[in-house]
């Protein structure tokens, strides 16, 4: 197990290096930040002074090397736009995104799994067919449309849920949470539901397919034949084996939700990291974008590793040597 984790860590570092290099190459074509930073009326020599201050007059390999060196020391540079350290800027937004993603993933995992099992038990009833059709819609309707439709129905027509923002929040240490106030939870429902729709549909279909396959297996028949109660057959013997791909998927989705809930955050004006990323892209704020992408890569790598370890817990047959 230890060697396995060490190997995965090493792989993770290689991936992070590759990601940082790709970011750097891309930004050479993303526009010149110096221009905006020198001000509208700056002369050429003033522009050059700013370029020099930022070290952007040096060859790109020097810039890259310096970036790596600083990153190793936890310094990802200052945002060109706000002139505040980029990492702090992103981490400040992390709680909002994390709470949104967690809520969404819990919604989709619980609802997706439950519906998936129920549908698999009686696949041919009309209401289960309806659920399956609905899940197809969940997969194919783009997030922005889901979001806008939810706003339209719940915020504008019915007026029971707020259309945007995070509502009242409570700060505990550095963590600003919306979980502790009614207003905060109300604000969470629509964006979390929007974000959960797609994931829910995917998990539902995955669970259903797995359950149907497993329920046809010999050992399940044996379990039924032994006269075990349905609860035991379904949850202990069948579902546990289905869970492996489902957990993998959930893990991957969770990483994705944290890193890339950009569209949903924009529509709901959710003050999270995705919103920040989009603004930063508009303004060519390279330090923030690079830091963000590195952080996203880091989160996804970590989650994948946790998922791999969870495998072993779910299925003791799996060994990592």
């Amino acid at each position: 197990m230890a060697t396995y984790i060490a190997r995965r860590l090493l792989q993770g570092i290689v991936v992070l290096l590759a990601v940082s290099m790709i970011c750097f190459i891309i930004f050479r074509y993303m526009g010149d930040p110096v221009l905006a930073m020198a001000g509208k009326y700056a002369t050429q020599s003033e522009i050059e002074e700013v370029r020099h201050m930022l070290g952007l007059d040096q060859p790109s390999y020097v810039q890259y090397g310096r970036f790596l060196w600083n990153a190793l020391h936890g310094n990802f540079g200052k945002s060109y736009v706000t002139r505040i350290p980029a990492l702090g800027l992103i981490l400040e937004r992390f709680p909002a995104t994390f709470e949104l993603a967690t809520t969404a993933i819990c919604m989709s995992f619980l609802v997706g799994l439950t519906l998936g099992v129920l549908v698999a038990l009686r696949p041919h009833t009309w209401y289960n067919r309806l659920v399956m059709a609905g899940s197809l819609a969940g997969i194919s309707v783009p997030t922005f449309l889901t979001g806008i439709l939810l706003i339209m129905v719940f915020a504008v027509y019915l007026g029971i849920l707020p259309p945007f923002g995070r509502g009242k929040t409570v700060t505990i240490g550095f963590w600003r949470t919306g979980f502790l106030t009614i207003d905060g939870i109300k604000h969470l429902i629509l964006p979390a539901a929007t974000l959960a729709t797609y994931q829910l549909a995917v998990l539902l279909r995955l669970t259903r397919a797995g359950m149907r396959e497993v329920l046809a297996e010999e050992y399940i028949k044996t379990a039924w034949a032994k006269g075990l109660p349905p609860r035991k057959v379904i949850f202990k013997h069948a579902l546990r084996n289905v869970l492996i791909p489902v957990v993998t998927m959930t893990g991957l989705q969770f990483g994705e939700l944290i890193a890339f809930s950009i569209v949903t955050e924009t529509i709901f004006q959710w003050p999270g990291m995705g919103n920040l990323l989009l603004t930063s892209i508009y303004e060519t704020d390279q330090p923030v974008i690079v830091t963000y992408i590195m952080l996203a890569a880091f989160i996804i790598i970590t989650i994948n590793m946790v998922v791999d370890i969870l495998y072993a817990v779910l299925n003791p047959k799996i060994r990592y040597d």
Binding site: A36, K40, V263, Q269, P271, E283
Partner: protein
């Protein structure tokens, strides 16, 4: 985001009729949805009007601009003199205190102006570098000496905000970027990035405490969400109403739309290199006359723009009311093309941003169609502003759509930036992206640099303007944009938009 916003508008527009009114807020508070979030609370770190708009509430300049016409009036300076070409003497207001209680004195003025030339914290480097030195005569008198005569120096003093020397130096630089300590009418209570800012009235404000005691500003960049927030009653005032929604908002009985002509004009820059067909004045005229601006305003801008015949807007020194647009006349245009020897037309690339101005991409598409009718094959090259503007600065283009207005209300600076032959050494022509060059314009423009007397200056700048727009067709002007706002009716909100689009809350009451 374009792809996303269009369906949003359509869907939201369909449900306008059932707009819900939210709970009424207390009379001394106001919730505002604006289109651009603040970047930082450092008043020198961003020279965009979007950020200055926030800063104007926390800080004061030596002077300020007031009212619908942007008149220059005293603020932290009670009056100013211009003893010689290079000196500007300001008499400071006594008894003003910063939000932290520190008294405002000449030392703060000196500190703030010297800070401008530090690229680490300032985007006003150009203004900072103009200054030779700042002399403190006594606690309430300063003389600012510029390196060269800068006729518009005082005109810019509403944009240069005064910071507290003591707390700016003693605080952590990161703190200075997020927590403003100024003399302004409002203090910042809380800034939750990406969510809202809470402002509270500065009861000791030197102009008297502002009428509205608590302001919540919610920056919402997505236009349809900003609009939904207003319709659902969560906010009471909104800036940046998209033209697509305008007609529908107007029919909503709960909302009141306020529009005012914007200072920004939209125009086409066209190079004049000798070997290019478009250096011929007949071709330039033909291109001008081929464009049906009235149709652009009616169809693309949905009526929310006014035709422009020049770059500056009426309150700007140098605006010449005598300049008229060339008529839309494709027949004459074709004739002019034939006379110039281009009866079969030529090819040209029209560049422009697609995320900067109201309907920018659509306008560029329309221009391409109009020009194709007189035989000019236009290749469109619209792109995000982050890519487009560097190309302008590098001078790589022949023909592009751009917008401009000058915060100083003086055309001289604009012309040096946009029309003067590119000259890196002198810093001229920095936004002359077509490498346009005309010795007559350069000469007349340079002569204005020494003229300080406003009346004389206005005369020469008007002549220069006429020369460029009528004799040389330096640019093809299109229109002035219109700024659109919407407020909840029946809340008694008294709001008059400013020419610079700043949201200065001490000017609002309810």
């Amino acid at each position: 985001m374009k792809k996303i916003t269009i369906p949003c508008y359509m869907i939201l527009a369909a449900v306008l009729a059932v707009a819900m009114a939210g709970p009424a807020a207390a009379s001394s508070s106001l919730v505002v949805a604006v289109d651009t979030p603040p970047r930082m609370m450092n008043p020198h770190g961003d020279d965009s009007d979007a950020n200055l708009s926030y800063m104007a509430n926390f800080f004061d300049g030596l002077l300020q601009r007031k009212g619908p016409d942007g008149k220059l009036v005293p603020a932290l300076a009670v009056r100013w003199e211009h003893p010689d070409e290079l000196s500007w003497k300001f008499y400071l207001r006594k008894g003003v205190r910063f939000h932290n209680g520190n008294p405002f004195t000449a030392a703060d003025v000196k500190f703030s102006f010297e800070r401008l030339s530090n690229p680490e914290v300032s985007e006003f480097i150009n203004t900072g570098k103009m200054i030779e030195r700042v002399d403190i005569i006594d606690d309430y008198t300063v003389v600012i000496r510029t390196k060269k005569p800068i006729p518009w120096f005082a005109n810019n003093m509403h944009q240069v905000f005064i910071m507290d020397k003591e707390s700016t130096e003693s605080r952590d630089p990161g703190q200075v970027m997020v927590k403003p300590i100024g003399t302004g009418a409002y203090k910042l209570v809380e800034w939750v990035k990406g969510s809202y800012l809470r402002l509270t009235a500065n009861e000791d404000y030197w102009e008297g405490a502002p009428a509205i005691k608590n302001i919540e500003v919610r920056p919402i960049t997505e236009a349809s969400t900003r609009f939904a927030a207003l319709v659902s009653g969560q906010t009471e005032l909104m800036t940046g109403v998209p033209v697509e929604l305008f007609a529908r908002i107007k029919t909503n009985p709960r909302l009141l739309v306020i529009s005012r002509p914007a200072r920004r004009s939209i125009f086409l820059a066209l190079g004049n290199e000798k070997d290019k067909p478009w250096s011929d004045i007949r071709v330039r005229k033909a291109m001008y006359m081929a464009i049906n601006e009235d149709e652009i305003i009616a169809k693309i801008m949905r009526g929310h723009a006014t035709p422009a015949a020049q770059i500056p807007d009426p309150p700007t020194i140098g605006y010449n009311a005598g300049i008229k647009r060339l008529p839309y006349d494709p027949v004459t245009a074709r004739k002019l093309m034939a006379e110039a020897g281009y009866a079969d037309g030529f090819s040209i690339t029209l560049a422009g941003p697609n995320d900067r101005y109201v309907q920018d991409e659509q306008i560029a598409e329309a221009i391409a169609k109009y020009l194709s009718k007189i035989g000019i094959k236009v290749k469109l090259d619209v792109k995000p502003k982050a890519i487009f503007f560097p190309e302008v600065v590098e001078g790589k283009l022949d023909f592009y759509l751009i917008g401009w207005f000058d915060g100083t209300f003086d055309m001289g600076r604009t012309y040096f930036k946009l029309a003067h032959t590119r000259d890196k050494e002198m810093g001229y022509g920095g936004f002359n992206g077509t490498r346009y060059s005309d010795p007559d314009i350069d000469r007349l423009l340079e002569s204005t640099a020494q003229i300080i007397d406003p009346a004389k200056r206005a005369k020469v700048l008007q002549d220069l303007n006429k020369m460029a727009m009528v004799d040389k067709i330096t640019w093809i002007p299109l229109h002035y944009q219109e700024d659109l706002y919407a407020v909840q009716k029946g809340k008694g909100i008294k709001f008059q938009p400013r020419p610079d689009r700043w949201m200065v809350y001490k000017e609002i009451s309810k």
